[in-house]
Symmetry: C2
Subunit: 355 residues, 2 copies
C-alpha cells in the first residue's frame, strides 16, 4: 500500500472536483473551517480573523471558486440581477446605457437583464412588477421616460425594490437619482447662438409630457432671456423627438417669409429633419441657417455639415445608475446627488448670421 500523498496546497486544482464546480463545502473542508466562515468571507463580514480570510481567499482563487448566485439568491430571497427598464428611447441611447451599466457590474457578480416596455399600455406597471417580483431583482434602473413616472417609482417602493431614476431633475430622494441637467445643456446651446450673433432664433421642442423636453425648453428660453433675447411663441414649436416631426416643424419655420437664422432642436433626430427641409428648400447650413441638436448621436457626425450638438455621457450615466444599485445603502447616504453634465460639441452647423 503506497503511502498517501501529503496534500500540498499547490496541488489542489479544479479537476479535484471531477468536473463539477467547487462548492462552499469543498472550500470549508479544504481550508479546515466551517462553511459559515467561508460564507462570512464571501459576504465581506468583518467578523473573520485576517489570517483566516487570507488563507481561505487564496484557496478560493486557487480552485477558481465563485459562489453560486442561484443558491445565494435563494437563501437571500433576492437575485443578483439588475433590471434595466425603458420605453423605446433611441437605439444608441439604450446601448450606451447598457454598456455603462455593465461597466459598473463587471466583476461584481451581478448581471444585467433588460426590460423594454410600453409606458402607454395601461398595465405596463404591472408588467414591471411581475418582472421584479418573479426574478427577485436586486434593483432596477429606470431610464427616461419611464424614470419620470411617479406611479412606477411608487410601485417599486411599495414592493421594497431598490431603483435609480435617470432624469433631468431630482424627482426623488438623492440616493435614487442620477441627474442629467438638461437645462444646462440647452442653456449652453442658447449662449453659443447668442455669442455667434443670432437674435432671431427658433426652438423645436420634444413632447411637453417629457421632463427632458420641459427642462431643455426652459433652459434654452431662460438663457436667451438672460442675454436679452426674447423668444416669441411663434418661434417655439412642439414636436415629438422624431425625424418626421422635425421635418414638419422645420417646414413651418422655414417656409415663413421671415425665417429664423438659427434653430435649436431638442434632439438630433429632429435636427436631421431640419437638414432635410433645408436641403429641399435650398437653404444652406450653416451659411443661411445655423442648427444645433441634442444627444450628439452618431447621426450628428453623419450629417453634412456635421451637426453641432449637446453631448450627454449616456454611458457614464448608466455606469453611475448601476453602481448606485450595488452599493450599500449606507455608502449612498450623505453623498452629494449623482449627476452627469452635458456639454456642447461644436461642429460645422453654426456660424454668425448673414449680414
Amino acid at each position: 500500500m503506497p503511502a498517501a500523498k501529503k496534500p500540498r496546497k499547490s496541488a489542489i486544482d479544479p479537476a479535484d472536483f471531477k468536473g463539477r464546480a467547487a462548492t462552499i463545502n469543498d472550500i470549508a473542508r479544504l481550508a479546515g473551517v466551517s462553511k459559515k466562515t467561508v460564507s462570512r468571507i464571501i459576504n465581506r463580514s468583518p467578523l473573520v480573523r485576517e489570517e483566516t480570510r487570507e488563507r481561505v481567499e487564496a484557496l478560493m482563487r486557487e480552485v477558481g471558486y465563485t459562489p453560486d448566485p442561484l443558491a445565494r439568491g435563494l437563501a437571500f430571497r433576492r437575485s443578483f440581477l439588475i433590471g434595466m427598464v425603458y420605453d423605446n428611447p433611441t437605439a444608441q441611447f439604450i446601448v450606451n446605457m447598457q454598456y455603462g451599466a455593465l461597466d459598473a457590474l463587471r466583476g461584481s457578480g451581478f448581471e444585467l437583464v433588460v426590460h423594454p416596455c410600453d409606458s402607454r399600455s395601461p398595465d405596463y406597471i404591472d408588467g414591471v412588477r411581475r418582472f421584479v417580483q418573479q426574478q427577485k431583482l436586486h434593483g432596477v434602473m429606470l431610464v427616461p421616460r419611464v424614470s419620470e413616472d411617479q406611479a412606477l417609482a411608487d410601485m417599486l417602493a411599495s414592493i421594497g425594490c431598490r431603483y435609480t431614476r435617470i432624469a433631468a431633475v431630482a424627482l426623488d430622494a438623492h440616493s435614487r437619482m442620477v441627474i442629467t441637467h438638461d437645462r444646462d445643456g440647452a442653456a449652453e446651446a442658447a449662449d453659443y447662438l447668442q455669442t455667434l450673433g443670432h437674435r432671431d432664433i427658433a426652438l423645436i421642442t420634444g413632447p411637453g409630457a417629457y421632463r427632458s423636453a420641459i427642462e431643455r425648453t426652459e433652459g434654452f428660453v431662460d438663457a436667451l432671456s438672460r442675454r436679452g433675447i426674447k423668444l416669441p411663441k411663434s418661434r417655439v414649436l412642439e414636436a415629438g423627438y422624431t425625424f418626421e416631426s422635425g421635418v414638419a416643424a422645420a417646414e413651418k419655420l422655414l417656409s415663413a417669409k421671415d425665417r429664423p437664422t438659427a434653430i435649436f432642436c431638442e434632439n438630433d433626430e429632429m435636427a436631421a429633419g431640419v437638414y432635410r427641409v433645408a436641403l429641399r428648400m435650398g437653404i444652406s447650413i450653416p451659411r443661411q441657417l445655423s442648427v444645433i441638436g441634442y444627444d450628439d448621436s452618431p447621426l450628428a457626425s453623419r450629417l453634412w455639415p456635421p451637426l453641432t450638438s449637446v453631448r450627454r455621457d449616456t454611458r457614464d450615466t448608466g455606469r453611475i445608475a448601476a453602481a448606485m444599485l450595488i452599493q450599500s445603502e449606507d455608502d449612498l447616504r450623505g453623498r452629494p446627488v449623482a449627476s452627469v453634465r452635458p456639454h456642447l460639441v461644436a461642429r460645422d452647423s453654426c456660424q454668425p448670421p448673414e449680414a
Copy 2:
C-alpha cells in the same frame, strides 16, 4: 367561539400568504396534493391526471403563483436566463436583436441577460465561459461576429451549454443555426442594378474576416457574373463597415477619371460615407451615381435621397434564435434549418445611368 369559516376556493387570495408569495408547498397544501404533483404540473409532465392538473392550475392562477426561478435553478443546476453575446455591431442591430429575443421569451419565465465583449481580446472566450458557468445560463445567442468564431462555439459545446449562432451560412448543426442568407441579399442588389442598366459597377466590402462580408461579396459578384457583368479587381474595395472607411473607399472610386455609375456598399454606414464624398465632389445621387446599402438601418431613410438598401429582419432573427434555445431539443430535431431572408427596399438612391 364563532364557527370556523368554511374555506371556499374562491376565497383564497394572495393576502392569505401575509405578504410573502405563495410557494409550491402552499399550492400543494391548498390543492390537497403532494408538492411533487405540483412540480410535475409546473414542468408539464404528462404523468398527472387531467382533472388534477386542471384543478391545481386553476388554484395557481387564483393565488397568482409562479415558481421561483432561483429555487428551480438551484435544483436544476441551470438558471432561467438566456445570454446574448455580441461584439459591437451597430446599436440598432443590437437593440432589434434584443427586442426579438424578448418577443420569444415573453411569458416563458426566461429572461435575457446581455453580454457585450471584445473578440479581439485574447481572453474573451474565457470571459464568456465564466459568464455562462457562473450564471449557469440555460443557453446563449451568438450574434455576428462572435457567432462566426468556431473556438467560441467549441468552448460552449465542451461545457455543455446550448447555443444558437446567427450567421450568413450554416457553420454548425442545423439545430444551432439561424441563417441570414446574406448572399441572396447582395444578389438582389446586383440584379436590381443590372436591371436598371448599370454596367460599370463598384463594390465596397466589409472586412474580409467577416463571414457576412465574404457572403455579400460573393453573392454580388456571382449575380453580376450570371448576368454577364464582370467586376474587375479595381472596382472592389475592402473597407471596414464604418462610415470613415466608406469615405476613404468612395474617395478612391470617385476621384478616378472613369468613375462607376453605381456602388453597392455592404452596409449602410459605408453608404453614408459614399454620400458624404459625392456631396463634397458635387456628384449627384442618383442622377450621376446610384448607391445601395445593406441593413436598412434608420440612417437609410435619414439620408437624402433616401437610400435603397437590403433589409434584414433582425428582430425576427433574434426571436427565432431565442425561441430555439427554449424549445426542447426533441422539437428541434428533424426540422428544416431556421432562416431569415433579406430583401431589397427600393428608395430613391438608384436610377438608370446617364446616357
